[in-house]
Structures are given as C-alpha cells and as structure tokens.
C-alpha cells in the first residue's frame, strides 16, 4: 500500500488527541519522590502524592433536598518505568459527574478522552450505575498528572461514607468536610484506631460553616485479596450521618435515629398495592394437602426458592422498594426484596404472621445503631410463630427451613412492625452444624488401592452441593458426581455411586461409592510407599503476603477417616508424626494409629468462625507447613 499522506494525518490527529502541548519530563526531584514511594509501596505501579476531597453541602429548594458536592483533586505519579492505567469515577441516577479533567503537571490539559459507559455487573441484570473513565499513560518513571473530578449528589441520603484508601497508595490524603450551620450532620469515625489521622476543626463565622479536616499520610492501596472481609471492617472511613436540617426555622428530620431510616423504608413498603389474587391459587395448592403448619410453611418457602429466579434490577428507587408480590409471582423472577415480599405475601395468604426484614450481610460491618443507607444490602422475610422467630431467605437455594446461610448469621435485622420496628439477631450456628465426614475403607491390591467411601454432608456443606448439582444439564449430572467425587483426578475411578435424594433439602446427604486408585502406591526394593491422602484439604491455604483476615464461605467442620488394611506379611515401618493446633478460630488435628491389621489416618479440621484472622497467621502458617510436610510424607510398609 502506498500511504496516503493527508488521510493518514487526519486519522492520526483524531486518534491521538492526547498529544497536545504540555508534556513535562520528570525532574530529579520527581524521580526521588517516585523512588521513595516505590520503596514504601513496591507492589504498586502508580501512587498519589496527594489526594484531597472537598465536601460541601447545599439545599435544593425545588426538590427540598440537601445536595452534596465532592471535589477530588489528586496528583498522580508513576512508580514504574511506564504505566498504563484507567482513572475512573462511578455515578448513578442520584448523582452526576460535572467535571472530570486530567492535566500535565504544568496545568495544561493532557487531552485524554473521557469515556462514559454503563457499568455492567454479572450479579445485577440491570443497574443505573455508570462510569466515566480515561485511559492514561505515564510514559516515564516519575511522570506526574493532576486530576480533578467534581461529583454532585442530588440527595445527601445517598452520600454514605468517605474512605481514606483508594486504588493506589496515597502519600497524603486529606478529607475536608464543610458543614453549614443549618445542617445537622455527624461524621462518625470508623476504624480510626491504629491510624495516625490528624483532625482539625475550623469555624468560618462569615459563612456560617464549620470545616472538619482529616489528614492521613502514607495510606496503602486497598488490598486486592480474595476472601477478604468487606471494606467497612478494614479501612478507616467516615460514615456520613445526616440527621436533620433547619430551613426557615423549621427543622426537618433526615435519618436521625433508626426509626427514621425505618420510616423511609416502610413508606416505600406501604406504597405497595399488595393485590395477592394472582397467588392465592398457588398458596392453596401448596397448603391444602399439608398436614402441619410446618409443612405449609416449607411448601411455600421452598416453592419460592425453587421457582423464582434471582434477577436484580438496581435502578433508582427500585434499589430500595420491593416489587409487588404478584409481579414477582407472575414473572417468576425478582431480587432479594421481591422474593422476600413474595414469601411474606404467600405466608400471609396462608394465614401466618410474616414480615419484611432488612439486613446487612456479613460483608457489612455496621448494625442499625448508625442509620445510613450503607448499613444494609439485603432483605429477607421473618415469620413469627408460637413465640418463635424464623428467618426465610429465598435467595438461598436449597436452604432448609430454620437453617441460615453464614452470610446472614449473627447479623442484626430490622423487622417491620407497623409504625414501629423490631430489632433482632439471626441466630448463629456452630461449625458442627455444617459437619462433613469422609470415611475411606481401603485395601491394597498390587499397585492399586481399592475400597469403598462414605461421605456425609450437613448444613451448608449440603446446600452448596445440592445447588451446584441442580444448575447442571441433566445429561451432565452423572459425570459431575464422578468428577466431584474424584476431584477430576483420573487416577481415582469411581463406581457404584449411591446417594440419598439429591432433591430433598431437609435431609442430610449421604454418598457411598467404590474407588479403585492408581499411582498412589509405589514399590521399590520390597518396600511399599503409599500416598494415603486423596483430598489434601487446606494444602493451598497458607496466608502469605496477606494483610486481611481470610473469610471462608461458611464455618467448616470436616472429619476424614481413612482405614487401610495392612497386607499380610507386611508391617507399617513409617508413618508421619501426628500434628494438632487450636485457637479461638480453629481446632485442627491429624493423626495416625494402628488398629489390629489396619492403619487409621484421621483428620479433623474445624474452622469455628468461618475465618482465619491476621493475628492467627503466624501460627496458622506453621500448621499449614506441617500439614503439607505430612501430606508429602509417604507411609512405608515393609516385609515382616
């Protein structure tokens, strides 16, 4: 191709608008700053020399709402030889981004294109979140940019918190909140302990405002760690509690106390029509042949679990107001609020006392003592019966009545009660409730191990398996069970699988099957070396370089017993040493013993609070090292 000059030039001009004048090369001082920051934050490619949030409030007379302006000015610096990053900012139906600028260090516009896109999430079918972002490049080490973003909230209700940590480490983070006299707003300090946060308060008499300024130096980037607790547990932040405002001598309450938050929630609930005629026939069908109340409740609860697909629309008020029960019933889909409302209305139709219930899952650190829209994220249904309280969460598939998923256990709930509300806690189950047992009975047959296996699953270990199983194509189900049982290891042939009913969520699961295992036994010079562990649980759970607690999906209680018959003419000449450990969060034990002609290998792993805390890490890691050494150590049989 012969390149056509004018055309080429035009294309280039359009596509590289970033090349306006003003690029400034880093100075030796910049390099020194980058160097210092890189030493402090070796895993980060970019840092913020400074980040300042300026928050101010205003009043929108037309809509009678307190509005918020958040101006964020940052100075970014590249810590690597080069960096290509995205600078972004989210907004939604309740907020907008009115300014988004990126400049070179001399203040001239850098000309990066600002894109605006809907935010897509796998968990939400539709939501009104959008993101503005720019693809930025830092061509040299210590290259700097200035960024400026102005975001405006239409209603202070949706402005819930301010964090010090961000995607990148910050040398100096400043949050400055200017509160006018007419606004009663508390900045509740969360997780400040252990952080050297400097606070100042100044009064601007002429403006009738007070300004709270918080400064924190050397703030690390938010941790990119899997299985971490929610950010509200880990990072210092300010929870914004907008209590009331006074205009023209009239005071208007916002969320001053729990009752105010409840009042807003219940006003949304009260605006529902609750025409249940569409679901009456189904309620009758589900309850007419039920012999007991328990059976009626289960029939309804399980029907909602099984027949309503979880599809979430998080769009404006739909993020807070439940959908009509009849809509959810007719559509056969809904989000947690829709499912909670349908469960409630069906139970009401069947003559029970059911209530809508707000809850913040385990991901959120708060309870209802700090009224704010960030304190809850989920809705369930509460049933009062014969002096007992039962919580029903139909988003949990294959969840038995009276059992609670770990993510809501121990959390405070806000239960509707007409004008008033009730606060209670979801009961906590012990780890033993989720007990999983494995029992191998094995014998040696030349270089093979053969035998039978029994597995029992209780509580959450059970519902998880049932749920996985039921999302599979019918034709893949048999294959899946085999794969699940041998964990994809083709050296373990699984046969004669016998299971309890994999549709019944009220029953614990038993699975019995036969195994024939290749390549686990090696014979050298008349001695037999056996790798007797086919599961090696927790082998990869060493907490290295980790800064946050490790959270398991549920409490664990595993007991695994392997019984190996010693072939005649042989004796056990080596077994690894027994190990055990105990703390508030776990009890773990692995032991070998001989019983008659059998070697018994027993593992007990109990994770009592579904977590390993950072304070446990040292001890925990020592144990995992020992455990891996044990897994790696072979059992030796030698001739008598």
């Amino acid at each position: 191709m012969i390149m056509n000059y004018p055309k080429l030039l035009l294309v280039l001009l359009i596509s590289t608008s970033a090349f306006s004048q003003g690029k400034v090369e880093p100075t030796p001082e910049d390099l020194e700053i980058a160097n210092v920051l890189k030493t402090e934050f070796p895993d980060d490619e970019v840092a913020l020399i400074s980040s300042v949030d300026l928050i101010t409030f205003d009043f929108d007379k037309k809509n009678m709402q307190v509005t918020v302006k958040q101006i964020t000015d940052e100075e970014m610096i590249n810590l690597d030889s080069r960096a290509d990053i995205q600078k972004y900012c989210f907004y939604d139906g309740e907020s907008e981004i009115t300014e988004f600028e990126i400049s070179y260090i001399n203040g001239k516009k850098a000309g990066f294109q600002i894109n605006d896109e809907a935010y897509k999430s796998d968990d939400l079918f539709h939501n009104d979140s959008r993101v503005q972002y720019a693809d930025m490049d830092f061509p040299l080490n210590a290259y700097r940019y200035l960024t400026h973003v102005k975001k405006e909230y239409k209603d202070v209700k949706y402005f819930t918190s301010l964090y010090f940590n961000d995607d990148y480490p910050i040398q100096k983070k400043t949050i400055s909140v200017t509160i006018p006299d007419w606004l009663n707003l508390e900045l509740k300090e969360m997780n400040f302990e252990g952080h050297d946060i400097e606070k100042t308060l100044t009064t601007e008499a002429e403006n009738h405002t007070k300004t709270h300024t918080y400064t924190l130096n050397n703030v690390p980037a938010m941790y990119q760690e899997s299985n971490a607790p929610g950010p509200s547990y880990i990072y210092p932040h300010l929870l914004i509690l907008a209590k009331s405002y006074t205009r023209d001598d009239t005071s208007v309450t916002l969320f001053d106390a729990t009752k105010d938050l409840y009042g807003w929630y219940i006003s949304l609930v009260n605006s529902l029509q609750n025409d249940n005629s569409a679901l009456q026939a189904k309620v009758n069908e589900l309850t007419e042949s039920a012999k007991t109340d328990d059976e009626k409740i289960k029939n309804i609860y399980y029907w909602v679990q099984d027949n309503i697909r979880y599809i979430a629309f998080l769009d404006g008020i739909a993020g807070f107001k439940p959908d009509e029960a009849a809509n959810v019933f007719n559509k056969r889909y809904g989000d947690c609020k829709g499912m909670a409302n349908l469960t409630k209305q069906m139970l009401l139709e069947a003559g029970f006392d059911a209530r809508l219930t707000w809850i913040g899952t385990k991901h959120i650190a708060y309870d209802y003592s700090t009224p704010n829209l960030a304190i809850d994220n989920h809705m369930i249904c509460t049933l009062f019966k014969d002096g007992n309280t039962l919580f029903l969460d139909a988003t949990e598939k294959f969840n038995a009545l009276g059992e609670y998923a770990d993510r809501i256990q121990g959390k405070q709930v806000l239960i509707e009660n007409g004008e008033d509300f009730i606060l209670q806690y979801v009961p906590q189950a012990k780890a033993s409730f989720n007990k999983e047992t494995l029992s191998y009975n094995l014998t040696l047959e030349e270089d093979h191990i053969i035998g039978s296996v029994d597995r029992h699953y209780n509580g959450e270990s059970r519902s998880q398996l049932l749920q996985n199983f039921h999302t599979l194509k019918t034709e893949n189900k048999a294959e899946f069970l085999e794969f699940y049982l041998n964990q994809g290891n083709s050296n373990i042939a699984v046969s004669n699988i016998d299971t309890t009913n994999l549709l019944n969520r009220d029953q614990n699961i038993d699975i019995a099957y036969d195994v024939a295992i290749k390549n686990a036994v090696s014979s050298f010079d008349g001695q037999i070396y056996i790798d007797l562990d086919f599961d090696k649980e927790l082998a990869t759970h060493k907490m290295e370089k980790r800064k946050t607690d490790f959270i398991f999906s549920s409490k664990k209680d595993l007991e695994s017993v392997t019984r190996l018959q010693i072939p005649s003419g042989y004796k056990v000449s080596h077994v690894p040493a027994n190990i055990s450990i105990s703390s508030d969060n776990y009890d773990m034990q692995v032991m070998f013993k001989k019983e008659d002609r059998a070697l018994v290998y027993k593992k007990q792993f109990r994770i009592k609070n579904a977590k390993v805390a950072t304070s446990d890490f040292e001890q925990w890691n020592q144990f995992i090292d020992q455990l891996n050494a044990l897994y790696n150590d072979q059992i030796i049989l030698s001739k008598d």
């Binding site: 191709m1 001009l13 559509k331």
Partner: protein, 723 residues
C-alpha cells in the same frame, strides 16, 4: 424554513415509527401467523427425554432485496425449544439485542438505521400461550436492549425469533459474510428449515455437504424473484470434541450471497459468481478459478528498495537469492515499522509513520504480498507458480465454493521448489500454514506475462521430525533434599516454533537484529529533531523495561504451571537463538529457577521424586473421549523430545528405573522413554510423536495407547534411597 424542516423531521420520525411497527407486525405474522405449522408441535420423542432441551423447530431465513443501489437485507432466526431442565431455563432466561444499529455493510449511511425485532412467547405444558411484550419489558442501556424472561419454567416451550432488517447502499459489488456451518447445534433439532428469497442482482453460491439435504427451489409468482429452501428432520445434537473438524464430518451447508448490479460489477466481484441470478452455484471448476485470478495476480509493486539492497550482491543460486529477498522484504515491509507501531500504540509519538515519507510500501494483505513478491520473481526471471489452496478444516479442493476460503502462496520453481507466504515478523521461507500441508491445490502460471494456465498439484507435508519441541532439563537437588535447581534449554522448530516466538519475544528482541543485519535506520534514527529523538528513545526504553517486567511475571507463571511448582525463585530467562531465518533452525531459550516442595515427597529417610511430571501435563482422556466415534483431525505431525538429567545426590542410590523404560510405537504415534545412570547422573529420554494429520476412527485405540503411555509416565516416580 425552520418550520418546514421541523415538519419534515416530524414526518420522517412518524414514518419511521410507523415502519418500525410495520416491521414488527411483518415479523410476527411471518413466524407466528396462520401459516405457522410448527405451532402444534410440542411433544418430543422418548429417546430425547433426558436432554437438557430439544429444539422442536428451527427456522433461518435470508431475504435480499434492492432498489438500485439500495439493498435491504433481512435475516431472521426462529427457534421453538422445549426446556427440560433448570440449566436450559437459565440459558433462555435472558435475551439481549440491538434494536437500532448502523449497518457496517456498503457505504456508511447515517440516514437509515438497521433494526432488530424480537418476538418471544412461552407455551405452558397445558398449551396456554403468553406472548412477551418485548417493547415494554426490555431495558435499553447504551443501545443494547436486555430482557429478562418472565414465568419461564422447566417443561415450558420458549418460541422466539430475531428479525433483523439491515438497509444499506452499495454502488459496487458487495459480498455478504459467508455462512458455513453444520446443521447440528448444542441441542437436538426435530425439524429444521433454511429459507432464501432473492431477486435479480443477487448471486448465490450454496451447497450442502456430508449428507445434508440439498437446497431446492420453490416456484414464485414473479419472474425476477426466487425462493429456495432446505429442510431436514431429526438432527442429533453436535458434539464438538477435540481434534475434530465439524465441516468435514457433519452434515453442513455453506453459502455466500453477492450483490452486483451489472456485468461490470460482476466482473469486478472477488467471488466465484454463478452464471446468472437464476442459477445457484454449487461448485467451482478449475477454469473458473483461472478466470477469477488471471488478472488479479498480475505482478505489481515498487521494488526500488529491494533493488538497491541487492546491488552488487551475488548468490550461489536462485534459491539463495529468493530466500534473501524474502527475508529482506520481511524486514523492509514489516519489521522495520514495528518500533513505530509500538510508539503509536503507547502514545509515545503522535505521528510516528511520518518519518517514512510519502511513498512507503507497507504490505498488508496476502494478495498484495503475492503481487509484490511475484513482481520481484518476474524481474529476476525466476519461474514461479501461484498456489491456490484451501484449509483442511473446510473440505477438499473439489468442494471449493467461496472465495474467502482461498489461501494463496507462491511456489518458486527453483531446483528444489521454495514456498513463500505472506509474512508475519517471524515467518520463514518455505513456511505456510499446516492446515494447507498435504492438500490438493491449484497452481496458476503464466506462459508469458498474463496468468493463463492452471493445473492441479499437491502441497508438501511435514513430518513429526520437522515439527519438534525439544527440552533438555537439568535438575540438581539442594542439600536439604526439599528443593531443586532446574535449568531447561527449550528448542522449537518447524510448526512448533512460531507460537513460542510470538509468546517469548519482545519486539526489541528481533527488531534491532534486523536493523543491524540490513543496515537500515531505526525509527528513532529517522526522527528529524534531535530533541524528539532523545525523548522518544527514553520513552521506548521505559516501555521496553515495563514490558520486560510483565513478561517475566508471565514466564514465571508459565514455569510454575509447567513444573507443578507453587512458588519459584531466582527465575532466569535468556534467548539463545531466535530461529527467524529458516524453518528448520531452532528457536532456543533457556530458563532456570529454584523451587522448594515441588515434586519431592519424603519417605522416611528416603525421597520419592515425581520425575515423570517433568515432561509437563499430558492429555488425560475422559471416559467419554475414550468412546469417540468421530475421525481424528490433528493439527500436524509433531514430536516432543525431552532429556532429563538429574545428578544423583551423594550418599543416595536410585530405585525404580524399570518403570521409566517404556515403549508404545504404532502407526499413529509413539511414546518411548528410556532411563539410565551414567557418571552419577540419571538420564531420562522421552519421545512423544504424533505421526499424521489425520487418523480414521478405527485408529483411535492406537492413539489412546500412546496417549495413555505418556500420561502414565507423568505418574512415574523414582526413589532416592539413603545409602
């Protein structure tokens, strides 16, 4: 004036609203109107009850109409599906589509947008039907419409269609995207219908393969309108397994439609058009291939730079000369620009290509390459033929139907023929896609200037020895016997080479070498202003440094996966030979690292080494794969040859060598391993070979034999026994 314009706009708007609903009605009537026979079908045969879902009726339609240059292309698909399990319900519970869009066909036309109409209804087991109000229920975000399907349950039938009308304008001949697919899909189909409606100026190539029914013509009321259909019943679901070419094995069809308004445009169309619109073209003859290409491959190109480079140079023979020319062109027309591409991509320079001046040659298509390269051959008076070939995965040369499926090479008729194909940065002379190897091809040649001869020929094949991955691994255990140091020299040649080169090279690894070899100026050197030069060089260096560091992380991860290591330390990587100047030269790199608790198991005072795992993960066939009923289509013959050297630690002896000596060698492939101890070093050699491109299903057992032997080897261990 403003008022008039406004009125016009309003009129236009209301018209478009009207036409939209007209389209929706048209679509609905077309699929679900009185004539819809499939509405009564709701039962499935007993043998399909265990499926996840069964398609009761599938209907695809293509409709081509025009008015002058204005084309209206309508395509639609309807499926009526019985959902038999939760997985199927989940699969069909959400839909997305673009209701309005700009056509990418023909000339850009902002005035008329394309539209997609979606219709969905749910039929309950009791026969009651609910039509979904798509317009009301779909949510539109940034032009994308999403719809969650209400009240969908196991046992329901979902009946849906997508109906897309795409108007566009094309002055010149325009070829629609070819469609080539098997009748089978993920779910079994009880009844299938493919339907076409066209009129004059639309040319259709269509044929059915591997037992699929033929397209048949349906009489129409108008002389210039034509209708065709293909119907089939009881199509089993397709199982798209490893080493399988669906278009070669399964009942399939292929078609392409071409729009050409007059004989002049017909002649210009790059397609094997039927004689006229009334004829469906089902095959392409040798003569037609010649006719299409006789003018298109006229040698052409500005060879000034090549001439300069060759001035004063002499060569042993034509083969050497052509080889030198190929590599020179690869540099001069491609790798010379790499730096500029990176500078552009990384925003280092706004106009990096300006330095090359106005008339720079940059080859960017197979056909351009052929014309340029043959111009060189013509001037040098070196005999050549143009090879017209077809990939093995879409059938034989006799089944040629669609021009897009053609691949072009040059065969240079030197004493031992050479082949030249359009180059990437590492392509060698004599290298062409393994998908063409051993296939029947047409050879075009010119008795004088113009191409006027066509013959059939066959491209050469490669052997497993030609395509090789070779590793020489040296392993030494640490004193604590809980870890080892590993050094691996990795060598690749033939078709095993290029993927590795793309994976392992940074552009700087070969660009600087080429600049030196051909004494050409770097991009930075060509930049005029000294200040810019300095700046660009600095920024390119920073980019390279960053790429190196991310590359190192990637290589470490890849080594971890290959050698089953959770962690490794002191990783080193070095290129020994880049293999860029002949197909049979090795690309060689060495990597090294230390690791702990990897492949070593304690056994009392002794240690078991999982030495077999050092040949990397092998194919571990599942039960289902073992029961394969299809023929086997392999990428190309190849071999994996490993040598593992492990120094036996002092004070230890080795047991278990017998299991490391194994041999399965048959007509399809081999896995052979040998182990011996020499001078205190355990030396293991393994050879894994795939011998052919194709194996009939009757050979599957033989393949299983060597695949299993290789997989079993990865389970073998040795004992290091404390003496």
């Amino acid at each position: 004036m403003t008022k008039k314009l406004l009125a016009l706009l309003l009129l236009f708007q209301s018209l478009s609203v009207l036409s939209q609903s007209k389209e929706a009605l048209e679509a609905k009537n077309f699929f679900w109107g009185e004539a819809d026979k499939s509405r009564t079908v709701s039962d499935i045969p007993a043998n399909l009850q265990n499926e996840s879902a069964v398609i009761l009726y599938k209907n695809e339609n293509y409709d081509f109409h025009k008015y002058g240059k204005n084309v209206t292309y309508t395509s639609s698909i309807r499926k009526r599906i019985k959902l038999l399990d939760q997985a199927a319900v989940d699969e069909f519970s959400e839909f997305s589509f673009q209701e309005r869009f700009y056509s990418s066909k023909g000339q850009f036309n902002w005035f008329r947008k394309g539209s997609t109409t979606v219709g969905i209804k749910i039929i309950k087991p009791d026969g009651s039907e609910t039509e979904i109000d798509v317009e009301a229920e779909a949510i539109e975000v940034d032009g994308e419409n999403k719809l969650a399907i209400a009240n969908l349950e196991v046992g329901d039938i979902i009946d849906y269609y997508y109906f897309t009308k795409e108007p566009f304008k094309s002055t010149y001949a325009f070829g629609f995207e070819p469609v080539e697919k098997p009748l089978a899909e993920e779910y079994p189909i009880l009844e299938y219908k493919l339907f076409f409606e066209t009129e004059n100026d639309f040319f259709i190539n269509f044929n059915s393969y591997n037992g699929a029914p033929k397209l048949s013509e349906i009489p129409t009321e108008k002389r210039n309108m034509r209708r065709y259909e293909l119907t089939e019943i009881n199509i089993p679901k397709g199982d798209f397994t490893r080493w399988f070419y669906p278009l070669v094995e399964l009942p399939s069809y292929k078609f392409q439609v071409y729009f050409a308004r007059s004989g002049k445009f017909e002649d210009l169309a790059l397609a094997f058009l039927p004689k006229n619109e009334a004829t469906i073209k089902t095959s392409v003859s040798q003569q037609e291939v010649l006719e299409l290409y006789e003018n298109r491959f006229r040698p052409d190109g500005d060879l000034g730079d090549v001439k300069d480079y060759f001035k004063g140079k002499t060569f042993e023979d034509d083969a050497h000369k052509v080889t030198a020319a190929y590599y020179y062109m690869r540099h001069y027309y491609l790798t010379r620009f790499m730096e500029a591409f990176y500078a552009k991509d990384a925003n280092i320079s706004p106009y990096p290509f300006m330095v090359y001046g106005n008339n720079v040659v940059f080859i960017q298509s197979q056909k351009q390459f052929i014309r340029h390269f043959t111009e060189y051959l013509r001037r040098q008076k070196i005999a050549y033929e143009i090879v017209v070939a077809k990939n093995r995965f879409d059938g034989t040369l006799d089944d040629l139907l669609i021009e897009n499926n053609i691949e072009i090479l040059v065969k240079i008729n030197t004493e031992k023929p050479l082949y030249a194909s359009f180059f990437g940065p590492h392509t060698n002379i004599n290298e062409f896609s393994p998908l063409l190897e051993g296939t029947e091809v047409y050879l075009l040649s010119a008795s004088r200037y113009r191409i006027d001869q066509i013959n059939k020929g066959k491209l050469p094949s490669s052997t497993y020895a030609d395509n090789e991955t070779k590793k020489n691994i040296t392993l030494s255990l640490n004193e604590a016997m809980d870890g080892f140091k590993l050094t691996a020299v990795n060598s690749y040649k033939g078709h095993e080479k290029s993927d590795q080169q793309y994976d392992r090279f940074l552009y700087t690894d070969y660009v600087s070498e080429d600049y030196k070899k051909y004494e050409t100026e770097t991009w930075v050197d060509m930049v005029r202003r000294e200040k810019d030069q300095e700046k660009y060089q600095k920024e390119l260096d920073a980019l390279t440094e960053k790429l190196r560091s991310t590359q190192k992380e990637r290589f470490e991860d890849s080594a971890k996966a290959e050698y089953f290591a959770d962690a490794l330390e002191d990783y080193t990587y070095q290129i020994n030979a880049n293999g860029r100047y002949s197909l049979d030269s090795y690309f060689i790199f060495t990597e090294g690292f230390t690791t702990k608790n990897t492949l070593i198991k304690k056994a009392g005072p002794n240690h078991i080494i999982e030495i077999g795992k050092l040949i990397g993960g092998q194919i571990d066939l599942t039960k289902k794969e073992r029961e394969r009923s299809e023929n086997i289509y392999l990428p190309y013959p190849r071999s994996y040859n490993y040598q593992i050297n492990m120094k036996i630690p002092d004070g230890y002896s080795v047991s278990g060598l017998e299991k490391l000596n194994t041999s399965v060698d048959n007509a399809t492939g081999a896995f052979i391993s040998t182990a011996k101890i020499e001078d205190g070093v355990l030396i293991i050699n393994t050879f894994k070979r795939y011998k052919n491109y194709f194996e009939p299903n009757s050979n599957w057992e033989q393949m299983i034999a060597f695949l299993d032997a290789a997989n079993q080897f990865t389970n073998e261990k040795i004992l290091l026994k404390k003496e």
